[in-house]
């Protein structure tokens, strides 16, 4: 394998990508899928994850271009040069262009987009061309079957020289997407214990803390089991900031930093999205807690000492928000870490405390220890 002079690489683990222009020879969904699989080929070998954005600038801008398209590397029509990509860096860095004059395909009747994209993303991550004919980073086109594809050894060595290996479970065979290590289970019964997020999911209540989550039947206190987040939600980040469920839609939403994931039960529904789709201002970088109010069909998002209200029916943020949490929910003190609605009450988790807030009385009617929810 070869690296670029100066060995440019990305200095962060989460990269954004955006497909700004599509090709007529494939459906957008096919292009999305091929790009996602091509990125996954690399993220299975190194601790990098890729988040898709649909607007604005992304680290890796992807487009289909024709002829001279303004980056001093004009395309040359059918065959010849198929695509190119720029080494990691600002501006054009990481950007990947495909020659629109080619016939792109998901199969073999043309140039397989997955094959070429996987090669070009190697450049976008910092690899130059390899002299090893079996390598993905060998300069000439050679069809690679997308499903079950594993990076050849030469490419794994190259990319891990830049970003290090993606760690695996000790004692288990190397598993792609395995979480980095066997996380210790926090002792929820110690007095300072708190949660990162709490949500219903179907008939169960889930409590998230660090890399672990606990599942319990709503009306049963026994049988509460911890497991790692990544063992049930492999594509999720290893920990979660906030979560909520819209039960009548059978959909749950998990938040981490400026991104969120949608699931049906434990099944991921596509790649992560950006929280700005909700209409948050750009200065909001993460969500502390979220709770869906069934009757009102509104979701409250807690950020610092304020909260926003999102109308799930109209799918838009309500006006006149954010509002101050303590002013609107008297008796609830401190930053909200997690929240969930059950039987007409909202349960706010703040540090080691869990406030039971009666929405009719508009007041806190009891305060428990957060750990009592999981049997402490």
């Amino acid at each position: 394998y070869r690296l670029f002079p100066g060995e440019p690489k990305w200095k962060k683990n989460t990269l954004t990508y955006r497909i700004s222009k599509y090709t007529p020879s494939m459906t957008p969904a096919e292009v999305d899928r091929a790009v996602q699989m091509a990125l996954q080929a690399w993220s299975s070998a190194v601790p990098l994850s890729f988040v898709r954005v649909n607007a604005g600038e992304a680290d890796i801008m992807i487009s289909f271009e024709t002829g001279d398209h303004g980056d001093s590397y004009p395309f040359d029509g059918p065959r010849g040069t198929l695509a190119h990509a720029f080494a990691p860096g600002e501006g054009l860095g990481g950007d990947t262009h495909f020659d629109n004059a080619e016939k792109w395909t998901m199969g073999t009747n043309g140039f397989n987009l997955f094959t070429v994209a996987a090669h070009e993303f190697g450049h976008a991550l910092g690899l130059a061309h390899s002299t090893d004919p079996s390598a993905l980073m060998y300069p000439t086109y050679k069809y690679k079957h997308p499903y079950g594809f594993h990076l050849p050894k030469d490419d794994v060595k190259g990319i891990q020289a830049l970003y290090g290996p993606r760690k695996t479970f000790p004692g288990k065979p190397t598993v792609p997407h395995a979480s980095p290590h066997n996380p210790s289970i926090p002792d929820l019964c110690d007095s300072g214990s708190s949660f990162d997020a709490v949500t219903m999911l179907g008939k169960e209540l889930l409590f998230f803390r660090d890399r672990i989550f606990w599942r319990r039947q709503v009306n049963l206190m026994s049988g509460i089991r911890p497991s790692t987040i990544t063992s049930s939600f492999p594509q999720l980040m290893s920990n979660v900031d906030a979560a909520y469920e819209v039960a009548d839609r059978g959909t749950a939403y998990f938040f981490k930093g400026p991104h969120y994931w949608v699931t049906r039960g434990f099944q991921m529904q596509g790649p992560p999205r950006t929280i700005y789709d909700y209409g948050f201002p750009r200065n909001v970088q993460r969500i502390d807690a979220a709770v869906y109010l069934k009757d009102a069909q509104k979701t409250l998002f807690f950020v610092g000492d304020e909260y926003y209200s999102y109308d799930e029916r109209k799918r838009k943020m309500e006006k006149d928000y954010p509002k101050n949490t303590e002013e609107e929910f008297s008796g609830v003190n401190g930053q909200i870490d997690a929240a969930v609605e059950l039987n007409g009450n909202i349960y706010f988790f703040s540090g080691p405390k869990a406030y039971k807030y009666d929405t009719e009385k508009e007041d806190v009617v009891s305060v428990l220890r957060a750990g009592s929810w999981v049997g402490c």
Binding site: L82, P139, T140
Partner: protein
Amino acid sequence: FAATPRTSRNNYHLAQAYLDKYYTKKGGHPLGEMAARGGNSMVKKIKELQQFFGLRVTGKLDRATMDVIKRPRCGVPDVAN
């Protein structure tokens, strides 16, 4: 197999464009210098290409070399830029 003069000329131009695109360090070699030394610099680059692709290093546009030049490929140069 003896190429016709026309084929030879086409191959030559194809190879020249290929070498300029993938085996020329931009900014390091002013174009004039390349023209001034003509074939010599081209032979050097043909050898570089043959070495990169694991072909016999002859400095000539033999059939194996032309096969590689005609194969669809990535637009990033093979030599550091």
